[in-house]
């Protein structure tokens, strides 16, 4: 693991470079926001950049890139449930019996998608 002095010494450069990269990408996130993209594109780009930044923190700072199987296993399990938690409740609001009142519950522009 990373307990060897020489390894740690080499990693310090990596840490500082990753830190710099994180600063840069933060700036990019804000800059892209100023472009005022359409909502779906804005969300996608912002989350992609955030995910990239997050993976760098996780894999480099948190040493996740060379962790042990037990940690990977626990995190993969968590990731699966996290995805369910994030999206399944949303799906249940999008698929309902009958017609909810469009003006109360729709994202603007989406009323017609629910017509069936």
């Amino acid at each position: 693991m990373h307990s060897d002095s020489a390894d740690v010494q080499k990693s310090i450069r990596t840490y500082l470079m990753v830190g710099a990269a994180l600063f840069v990408f933060t700036g990019i996130t804000v800059a892209v926001n100023r472009l005022q993209l359409a909502i779906p594109a804005a969300i996608t780009v912002a989350l992609l950049i955030a995910t990239f930044k997050g993976s760098m923190v996780a894999s480099i700072f948190m040493h996740l890139s060379h962790e042990k199987k037990w940690i990977y296993g626990a995190l993969i399990l968590t990731a699966v449930f996290f995805v369910f938690l994030l999206f399944v409740p949303l799906f249940t609001t999008m698929d309902t019996i009958g017609h909810p009142n469009p003006s109360q519950t729709m994202v603007p522009g989406a009323e017609h998608a629910m017509e069936h």
Binding site: L77, F81, L85, V88, F91, T92, T93, D95, T96, I97
Partner: protein, 604 residues
């Protein structure tokens, strides 16, 4: 606590640290019995506190059943203790009934069963069964008990505050839970404590099982009880946080004026609660919230929670069946895979509690499918236990009576769940007494019987004394008969359309008229059930002093805990435990004894 453990040979122990451990500091009363870091003491603390809460929650229900059997009649004996705001003239007010209902559920689930099953049995037995000197994080273990204790005090205190205890069901659905005056806020604070306690405990359990297994104790040699606790801990770890989040959101709704769960345009009793603009004004809150959001976050926890309620019980039953049939458990590998699969599936079925919320057919089909799939591992486990009885050399000890009864009772509970898991039949049965019958069969003659079995079984390990068998038999038969008298009629009532949570026992609705008589029957069953717990309580306390003294392994069992002294001392084992074989090597052909313990090097 006088047995001195010889010092374990932990490799790589830092020299200075090893020197420190050889000193035996005699702990004072407070550090030994109250703020103890010893898993055995903590386990007993959890168990006793849990049992007291079970008794308290049961008493709440006995009062409710009085009101349901004889609506409007003053509560006998204790009716005048509750004051005019709860029971004027001893007659239960609807608000009080609702308080009893909400708190009965909350207390039984979160303060009674789980602390006993996981905190009590898990803490006491699991480290012994894996050959560990204690849990991985003893201080964290102590903290988790005391945080649970604080949660319990919070919940109990809520009864005595103005407005009384929470009264919106243990499910705390908004908008009612948010707009209702009363102890809901305390309930939420109490839940935050309880969830925190659970979290600390689950981390401890998982790390202990992964890291502190004795030499030779591979995963497939683990007692089924340990597997059950392992999966349960993952459920607690990953499913509770969404309820903590939801609890925080509801707390914000209650104290910070937010509307996470309050929809726009909500009017209650001619009072405008939320406006239509989405922005708060002096007259109304902002609105824009979603009551169904609470249900998703709540049931995301509460469904895995019911598996938290059953899995430790299955673990206990497995141990006792193997021991009292003098045979290995049938299908050990199948049991392990089933319990793991069950744990995983439990996270993706939650909305079967929400079929009636206007869900569309696609999502409904998804949840019906996963719910039907999850019944498979449950059946695998039950079948493996039943097959374990075939060709057995049965010993009808008191623990075995309870463990055997668990099987058909859990069977009834599980089977009655099927029409609830399918949306078309759930339309008729949702929110009726059928549901109450279903889940109580699983938890009451299911889990709680298994917990009783576990108490009779491990009492000798914890105290060095055996509980009295005659009292145990009376406890068993009386409870078994009464508990069926309580819960079987509920299926009849539910199929007849009687709704839950009706303070008048359903008398308001004409269609319930023929079903009301069952309320009297159920009432007598409940009060009888209460009476039959007296032999148990007497037995439990008197056996500590006057029970028959036993040695280390009175049940002639094979698992590691039976190699430690009864009760085990500090550090648990007199020499470092080593495991030589699987957990259930009973009646091995050619062996001299009918059991070959895991910890004995040579087969007898």
């Amino acid at each position: 606590m006088d047995n001195v453990a010889s010092h374990g040979t932990t490799t790589g122990a830092h020299a200075a640290h090893a020197h420190e451990q050889h000193e035996h500091v005699e702990l004072g009363f407070w550090r030994k019995y109250i703020f103890s870091q010893d898993h055995k003491v903590i386990g007993i603390q959890y168990a006793i506190t849990g049992l007291l809460f079970l008794l308290f929650g049961f008493s709440l229900m006995m009062m409710m059943r009085w009101q349901l059997a004889y609506p409007g009649a003053p509560i006998p004996l204790i009716g005048n203790l509750f004051g005019a705001d709860k029971a004027p003239g001893g007659i239960m007010l609807p608000e009080f009934y609702n308080m009893l209902g909400a708190m009965h559920g909350t207390i039984m689930v979160f303060l009674g069963v789980v602390p006993l099953a996981v905190g009590g049995f898990g803490n006491f037995v699991m480290p012994l069964q894996i050959g560990a000197p204690d849990m991985a994080f003893p201080k964290l273990n102590m903290a988790s008990y005391w945080v649970y204790f604080c949660g319990g005090v919070t919940m109990l205190t809520s009864f005595f505050l103005p407005g009384g205890a929470a009264q919106s069901g243990w499910t705390s659905y908004p908008p009612l839970a948010v707009i209702n005056q009363g102890g809901q806020t305390m309930w939420l604070i109490g839940m935050v404590f309880l969830i925190t306690s659970s979290l600390l405990g689950s981390v401890n359990f998982i790390v202990t099982i992964v890291q502190l297994r004795a030499k030779g104790l591979s995963w497939m040699r683990l007692p089924f009880f340990v597997w059950a606790q392992f999966v349960t801990s993952f459920l607690l770890l990953l499913a509770f946080p969404p309820l903590e989040a939801a609890g925080i959101l509801q707390l914000m709704d209650k104290v910070a004026g937010t509307s996470f769960f309050l929809p726009s345009g909500l009017v209650v009793a001619n009072r405008v609660v939320t406006g239509l603009s989405g922005v708060s004004t002096d007259a109304a809150r902002a609105g824009g919230g979603n009551p169904i959001l609470w249900q998703h976050l709540f049931w995301f926890l509460a469904h895995p929670e019911v598996y938290v309620l059953i899995l430790p019980a299955m673990g206990i039953v497995g141990e006792i069946i193997a021991n009292n049939t003098r045979k290995p458990l049938w299908g050990y590998r199948a049991l392990v895979y089933a319990v793991g699969f069950l744990g995983f599936m439990s996270f993706i079925v939650w909305a079967h509690h929400m079929f009636m919320t206007g869900m569309g057919t696609t999502m409904s089909a998804f949840f019906q499918t996963t719910t039907m799939i999850i019944s498979v591992p449950s059946v695998v486990i039950l079948t493996a236990f039943l097959l374990s009885l075939w060709g057995a050399s049965m010993r009808f000890t008191t623990p075995m009576l309870f463990a055997l009864a668990f099987l058909p009772m859990f069977g009834i509970g599980g089977l009655t769940g099927l029409p609830l898991g399918l949306a078309p039949s759930d339309i008729h049965l949702h929110d009726t007494y059928y549901v109450i019958g279903h889940f109580h069969y699983v938890v009451a003659p299911g889990t709680i019987f298994a917990l009783f079995a576990g108490i009779y079984y491990w009492f000798p390990k914890a105290t060095g004394k055996k509980m009295n068998d005659l009292l145990g038999q009376i406890h068993f038969w009386g409870s078994f008969i009464c508990i069926n008298v309580v819960f079987m009629p509920m299926f009849i009532q539910g199929l007849g359309g009687m709704n839950r949570r009706m303070y008048d026992g359903g008398a308001l609705y004409q269609h319930n008229a023929a079903l009301l008589k069952w309320n009297v029957v159920i009432g007598f069953g409940a009060w009888g059930l209460g009476l039959f717990q007296l032999p148990f309580i007497i037995n439990f306390f008197s056996s500590i002093k006057w029970g028959k003294a036993v040695d280390r392994n009175p049940w002639e069992a094979t698992t590691l805990e039976w190699s430690a002294p009864s009760p085990p001392g500090h550090g648990n084992f007199l020499s470092e435990p080593v495991v030589y074989r699987g957990p259930y090597e009973y009646s091995v052909p050619g062996a001299a004894k009918d059991f070959s313990p895991q910890f004995e090097p040579e087969r007898a």
